[in-house]
Symmetry: C2
Subunit: 153 residues, 2 copies
Amino acid sequence: MQIDAVDQRIIALLVADARASYADIGTRVSLSAPAVKRRVDRLRAAGVIRGFTAVVDPAAVGWTTEAFVELFCAGRTTPTQIGVAARRHPEVVGAYTVSGEADALVHLRAADISHLEEALERLRAEPFVTSSRSTIVLSRLVESPGVGPSHTG
Amino acid sequence: MQIDAVDQRIIALLVADARASYADIGTRVSLSAPAVKRRVDRLRAAGVIRGFTAVVDPAAVGWTTEAFVELFCAGRTTPTQIGVAARRHPEVVGAYTVSGEADALVHLRAADISHLEEALERLRAEPFVTSSRSTIVLSRLVESPGVGPSHTG
DNA sequence: CATGAAACGGCAGCTTG
DNA sequence: CAAGCTGCCGTTTCATG
């Protein structure tokens, strides 16, 4: 799909504030509100914009404990398999296949240490997991939602 | 601040769709639209809801390359220092202090390998960084925005 | 551009500490 | 008695065919 400079600016504005009105965005990109809506509809249909979400302070909602878990998997494990398994656990907020020693890196978020431990045990119980190495998050310094700030090209 | 069950449901609905109308949310939580708005305003003022953002397909916008970088820091480095430094680099989408060997874990997202390399060099040039260990992301299996799915309490 | 819907502010009633 | 939360209704702004 074709994304021009105006699309980029609209995306940036929506990443900054997903509840901005089309009219407001239109003012900033020198377009009418309906024109903006058409572009947003098109970007959504094309999958460029996947959706709109609220960014919540995890501590305020009670999910205060995080960890990154390196997963070592059995020889014939596919990324798809790992992805499907990861999605089964609601504590998983991110999962990636990676280069290096481990096969995958899983980002967990739980209510507390015991919840985290329980999730970890469930994850390690997946048949393809041969071993794992956990790293507890002590503090969150940065966490950007969306795609990342400003220069999106 | 006090967050009751209705707040939780409103938050969950906004995480699922940040552009949902107050009337629509009100219908689902058995409240009027103005009542919902007041709660959302209160949650935003309290910092529980940090904002609303569009979730964008990174590939579509050109940021296709990711890495996790373990940072080893000089003896007297504070989390605040690391956070401030991390925020200076637009490629940083997440940063955490962690237990284990490394002092911090930084999540980078860039346009391509050379952009990633350039960002990595910039990051390693921070005065407090003594060494680093990078792990390139081969594929993204899961990535949830917001605070994580469903059971938020 | 025109219509219908949504957001937003003010006001009054109800419950709770 | 004070404070907080709610619903209703006004006007203004926005969404959308």
